[in-house]
């Protein structure tokens, strides 16, 4: 009963609980929070407490003293550390209700990967409930991504969505408010970063951190050979000499570094097309596939996929927030239809 009363002072939320970033969409208000899914934990004797969450905690990644550990509580789109995820959600839910005096108790919709198990989904549900939510609904990520991209999911027309997140890439074919085919590959932005770290280590004999790798990816990373070659200066620790050294990388080298994770995504897309029912395949051949998620921002990924599949490929508008926005719209659609199970999954 108290949750119901507190619910009056809360807003409906849609949470895209991602491996790299958590986004919260507040109904009728838009995206209210976009922060890294990182929590810094301080250990004092046997006592553990939260030192920082989100952006502040991300700055600490790889730079923490002995008594603080900055961790990412989600791995591959699912909860790796239940308690820390709960703390993080509690902090984020509180943050979007900053002006509220009463402890918020919102209705929450959380987006989950297609291939997450029963146990993993239950963990997400429980975690959101413990963080103060009064009602939790789960929606599969590609469905939310498709709604967020504005695709006609309710029609009897096949649409294909490729959502490239931080930890996973979700591929789904959607028709009539349901997922016809879905696949998850554990390749995403993080794997791109790791591939860059490994490449630099192999070719330059230097070690760089993940944050540097991410910066390289954002500035000169590309999925397809570029007309103009870009360069970037980076500093890393030389493994032979043991001292920091500066060196230059160019976009062709990064393209080479990204070959392995990119080919895994291309393979997964191709296998989705192979297993697609023929009627839907013809719809997709006509309209093409839609890229969402932060990975869609990698330069010319659409060109690569268009060439490999022979289909038109479009990038959704504002791909980073598609899932969270789609979740918000899904909440509205459920209310409108008066059916809480319309798009949700168990």
């Amino acid at each position: 009963m108290f949750k119901n009363i507190r619910g009056l002072f809360s807003r409906d939320l849609s949470i895209d609980l991602g491996t790299a970033n958590t986004l919260i969409y507040v109904r009728d208000h838009g995206i209210a929070l976009n922060e890294p899914s990182v929590v810094a934990i301080r250990t004092q004797g046997n006592q553990k407490s939260v030192a920082a969450v989100g952006l502040d905690a991300k700055r600490m990644l790889g730079r923490t003293p002995g008594n603080i550990t900055a961790i990412r509580p989600l791995k591959d789109g699912v909860i790796a550390d239940f308690l820390v995820t709960e703390k993080m959600l509690k902090y984020f839910i509180g943050k979007v209700h900053e002006n509220s005096v009463i402890r918020p108790s919102p209705r929450v919709l959380v987006c989950v990967p297609c291939k997450s198990t029963e146990v993993e989904r239950r963990a997400i549900r429980e975690s959101a409930l413990s963080a103060g939510a009064r009602d939790v609904r789960l929606v599969e990520e590609p469905m939310a991504a498709a709604i967020g991209a504005g695709l006609p999911v309710q029609e009897a027309v096949g649409t294909m969505v490729v959502d490239i997140g931080g930890g996973t890439t979700e591929i789904a074919i959607i028709s009539l408010n349901g997922v016809v085919y879905s696949d998850t590959v554990r390749v995403g932005g993080d794997r791109f970063d790791e591939a860059i770290v490994a490449y630099v280590r192999r070719t330059q004999g230097s070690l760089i951190g993940e944050a540097t790798a991410e910066r390289i990816k954002q500035e000169i990373g590309a999925a397809y050979p570029q007309k103009e070659i870009r360069e970037i200066d980076v500093r890393g620790r030389n493994l032979a000499e043991g001292v920091p050294r500066s060196f230059t990388l160019n976009s062709n080298e990064i393209l080479e570094a990204l070959q392995e994770p990119l080919s895994m995504i291309v393979q997964a897309v191709k296998s989705a097309l192979e297993q697609c029912p023929p009627e839907l395949a013809s719809d997709i051949a006509e309209t093409g596939l839609v890229l969402t998620g932060g990975g869609a921002l990698l330069r010319d990924l659409d060109v690569l996929l268009a060439e490999e599949t022979g289909l038109p490929v479009i990038i959704a508008e504002d791909p980073l927030t598609c899932v969270a926005r789609g979740g918000g719209k899904a909440l509205e659609l459920m209310d409108k239809a008066g059916n809480a199970d319309l798009l949700s999954t168990e």
């Binding site: 009056l8 991209a149 479009i314 508008e317 509205e332 209310d335």
Partner: protein
């Protein structure tokens, strides 16, 4: 004029011809049927599967020709947003509360009642001090935000506006967004006339049926306002007792639409 000020299709076609690409080459590069490329160049976006795909194709085409993809995609935004905004508009008209929400609402009312009773009991003199004019007093604070929104809305060239402009320019010989016969235009077409006369300071906000902000400003006592455009208009008047208004020459009674001195009405349906 920027690239997007011309129609996106024509801009793309011109850029393609400049680079001497054939339609077939573009179609092959984008894996699109030739018909689709031709439809984009002719600005016939209704021949494409949906607004999302239309914008996606325009963006991919612009990228291929190394043009500003976002500006061109944004130029075909208006017709698309009007298609998609039908859903929220319908939602706001029909209030569908779940049983739990209704239950919650009852609890809320009960809670507020208890608080009110307590407040009267503890501070009886404070009750008289609260002024009924409070909501009106807060309204002017919103002016800067809305002014910014209005400014950005008017700078952004929209495809619909441009289509209207292209049609209207040869006949009228003047830009449709200017003042004409004393009335200020708030939409490119239509001749519905809204006239306001103010005896008190009042906030005025006018939106299109799709929720787009057409006009918002604070009017002072003694001001009058004459607006022309195509209805329906969603009108909000911050202090209704200080305004008299007419629509297409006929006076509008604000009483039935007024609550707490704030009038909310829709005209021209």
């Amino acid at each position: 004029m920027t690239e997007a000020a011309e129609s996106p299709g024509r801009t793309l076609q011109a850029a393609r011809l400049e680079r001497s690409f054939a339609v077939r080459e573009v179609a092959e590069a984008l894996n699109l049927p030739i018909d689709t490329v031709e439809a984009i160049e002719a600005d016939q976006f209704d021949r494409l599967p949906s607004a999302v795909f239309a914008r996606g194709y325009v963006r991919a085409y612009a990228k291929l020709l190394e043009l500003d993809a976002d500006a061109l995609a944004a130029a075909c935004r208006v017709d698309a947003s009007e298609q998609t905004e039908v859903v929220p508009a319908a939602r706001s008209s029909g209030l569908m509360l779940e049983p739990t929400a209704l239950l919650g609402g009852a609890f809320g009312v009960l809670l507020l009642l208890i608080i009110a009773v307590l407040a009267i009991w503890v501070w009886p003199e404070d009750e008289q001090a609260s002024s009924p004019l409070e909501p009106v007093a807060t309204l002017p604070q919103r002016a800067p935000d809305d002014a910014v929104a209005l400014a950005s809305a008017s700078i952004e060239p929209t495809y619909e506006d441009l289509g209207e402009l292209a049609e209207a320019a040869p006949q009228a010989g003047q830009p449709p967004l200017a003042f004409d016969d004393g009335g200020r235009r708030i939409t490119p077409g239509g001749d519905d006339r809204l006239e306001f006369a103010f005896t008190e300071e009042c906030w005025v906000e006018i939106k299109s049926a799709a929720g787009r902000n057409l006009y918002s400003d604070l009017s002072r006592s003694g001001d009058s306002l004459d607006l022309v455009g195509r209805g329906p208009f969603r009108i909000l008047l911050g202090y209704a007792p200080g305004v008299s208004m007419s629509f297409n020459g006929e006076p509008v009674a604000l009483g039935p639409h007024t609550r707490n001195n704030v009038a909310n009405l829709v005209l021209g349906q």
